[in-house]
């Protein structure tokens, strides 16, 4: 297969997938919502002054404490006079960034392990699978907590912790797909034509696995985001960054619930909910495209 033909095929597949995606209402809704939030995160400096996150600055501005949105717009203030809106807008950056970065790490580790394990087989495969199983058995959250407690509270540590605890399920999926692809004749044919390992991986295995990886990645982002939120809520987040999880933690710890300061804890949670839903919708649509469910035809 010449490279040009392969590239043409790939382009055609991308176009086809995009067209199918476009016709799916749930997919497009998800994509639209996600776009809104990405825009929000990117234009944060335009939407809210970053200095508003600094309690000293907030005090100097004469902000009231615990002010509802009717008093101080658009989302009121918190216990140390900071603008909740600013926290929401700037928090979206951290939450989205950590979610995406952690997912990239997860997918990367998972895919590499899955591909190597499936392709090489034998002892290495058995050993890697043992490792994967072990990780899968360990309860995910406690492990993340333990690691985060030990490593300390920073954004990069959180990303690392999530990546290191989430890769196993990706690895398993990827490995299964690699095994399926391996069974197909053309890999044997390529081998018999003298192709070497890495070449086979790049030319044949990767293209057939990448669709699955993409769908899996999209569904892994929600898990990363929710994990970061939970870890931040429990106090393991980076104290200097203001993710949505952190906002919820501060709200809780400082009694926002007793005061019914709904403007403080509602937006962050809603933000998480909507972003997670958006990714889930996109992911499910991609999954359906990759794997048309026969049962829906019957």
């Amino acid at each position: 297969m010449t490279t040009r033909l392969a590239m043409q095929r790939r382009r055609a597949t991308t176009v086809r997938v995009w067209n199918q995606f476009r016709s799916s209402r749930q997919g497009m809704v998800g994509l639209a919502v996600l776009a809104v939030f990405v825009l929000l995160a990117l234009t944060a400096p335009l939407l809210a002054d970053v200095r508003e996150l600094n309690p000293v600055f907030a005090r100097s501005q004469g902000n009231p404490q615990w002010a509802p949105p009717s008093e101080f717009g658009p989302l009121g203030t918190d216990y140390i006079r900071r603008s909740v809106w600013a926290q929401f807008v700037w928090g979206s950056r951290v939450s989205l960034f950590v979610g995406l970065a952690a997912t990239v790490l997860t997918i990367f580790i998972g895919s590499v392990v899955g591909i190597i394990s499936g392709f090489v087989g034998g002892r290495l495969d058995a050993a890697l699978m043992r490792l994967t199983e072990w990780f899968l058995v360990i309860p995910f959250l406690p492990l993340a907590i333990v690691l985060a407690s030990i490593l300390g509270r920073s954004v990069w540590n959180i990303i690392f912790v999530i990546g290191v605890t989430s890769w196993p399920s990706t690895a398993r999926l990827v490995r299964a797909q690699v095994l399926t692809v391996k069974q197909r004749l053309f890999v044997d044919r390529a081998r018999s034509l003298g192709a070497k390992g890495p070449h086979i991986v790049a030319r044949h295995i990767l293209p057939n696995v990448s669709g699955l990886i993409l769908a899996n990645a999209t569904l892994a982002v929600p898990i990363s985001i929710l994990t970061e939120t939970t870890l931040s809520f429990l106090g393991l987040g980076d104290p200097s960054s203001a993710s949505w999880g952190k906002t919820l933690e501060e709200a809780f710890v400082n009694g926002a619930m007793i005061r019914n300061a709904w403007w403080y804890f509602l937006p962050a949670g809603l933000g998480i909910l909507i972003v997670v839903l958006a990714f889930t919708l996109i992911g499910r649509t991609l999954e359906e495209i990759a794997n048309p469910r026969l049962s829906s035809e019957r």
């Binding site: 309860p139 407690s149 619930m257």
Partner: protein, 308 residues
């Protein structure tokens, strides 16, 4: 079983990496003569090679000695055991409820595929599944304990309560309601989704057509042929989940100040009370391993196709 060994090894070495000086940490901030510290170090065997220390650790663990909590200065084992009943009660109720309700919803959604019932169930469960469970807890708390003070704000019984017997039990029920509701709502999505998926797979099978051909009612076909087959993966999931939900309630327990293992974990994080975290981690892992094993056994018992 082998997995548990790995867990032990992992636990030990991980914490040793951090706890450069366990004895020092124990007496943080207190003025203790160096000699005492040195004696203790010898007593604890900390001047011995790492491998020997590991053997001590394993032996101690199996004897129930998990160390001393930094925060409470009580044995970790005692602290953990104190929290077990509360967590098991909360998690147990929630797991059972979410499994039952989720499964039924999944059956309805699959049998009435693509109708409004299916769509509302699928969307609804997806909604609850996409929110942080503790945030849902916060919302419920504010709505039903603050705005409309129907339920208590936290704890397992009213503070300072001297009630016993039935009264105490009712008080506990009153307190467990909101956290249990939170966990149930958060987890039933998974069951609904899996059951729906599983049932849809089964619905494509020929033996259902055969069942209809025999003149059976729709209801009977569903109950006696479709659901039993679809239930198998769900049962496995339920058993496995019991193990995981134990540790999944950490944040929710924190929100409702529910004095169980979850809250203990949340509190230990703020220390960081490393011996507590170590002990809790061990327990959580053990729970998952045990329930995974039970899940395998149960499945083998239920599915006639699995050879003994």
């Amino acid at each position: 079983m082998l997995t548990f060994v790995f867990v032990l090894i992992f636990n030990f070495f991980l914490f040793r990496i951090v706890q450069k000086d366990p004895i020092g940490s124990l007496f943080r901030g207190r003025n203790v003569p160096q000699e005492t510290i040195d004696n203790l170090r010898t007593a604890f065997g900390l001047d011995e090679p790492l491998l020997t220390q590991f053997f001590y650790y394993v032996r101690e663990t199996f004897q129930g000695n998990l160390g001393i909590s930094y925060q409470s200065r009580q044995p970790v084992w005692d602290e953990i055991v104190a929290g077990i009943p509360e967590t098991v009660a909360l998690v147990g109720i929630s797991a059972v409820l979410s499994a039952l309700i989720g499964t039924v919803l999944g059956i309805i959604a699959a049998w009435r595929r693509n109708t409004w019932k299916d769509h509302s169930i699928t969307s609804g469960t997806m909604l609850f599944y996409s929110m942080p469970d503790f945030w849902l807890g916060m919302l419920l708390l504010v709505a039903f304990a603050v705005v409309i003070p129907l339920f208590p704000v936290g704890g397992v019984v009213d503070a300072g309560s001297q009630a016993t017997g039935i009264d105490r039990f009712l008080d506990q029920l009153h307190h467990i309601f909101l956290p249990a509701l939170t966990l149930t709502l958060a987890y039933l999505g998974e069951y609904a989704l899996i059951m729906r998926s599983s049932l849809l797979d089964v619905m494509g099978e020929d033996y259902l057509i055969v069942a209809r051909a025999k003149g059976l009612r729709d209801r009977v076909v569903r109950r006696h042929h479709a659901v039993p087959n679809a239930l198998l993966p769900v049962v496995t999931l339920t058993a496995i989940n019991f193990g995981f939900v134990l540790s999944g309630a950490i944040a929710v327990e924190a929100v409702f100040s529910w004095p169980g293992l979850g809250k203990a974990t949340a509190d230990a994080i703020r220390g960081p009370d490393l011996p507590m975290l170590q002990g809790l981690f061990l327990l959580f892992s053990a729970a998952v391993i045990v329930f995974n094993f039970l899940a395998d056994v149960t499945y083998g018992y239920l599915d006639p196709r699995v050879e003994d």
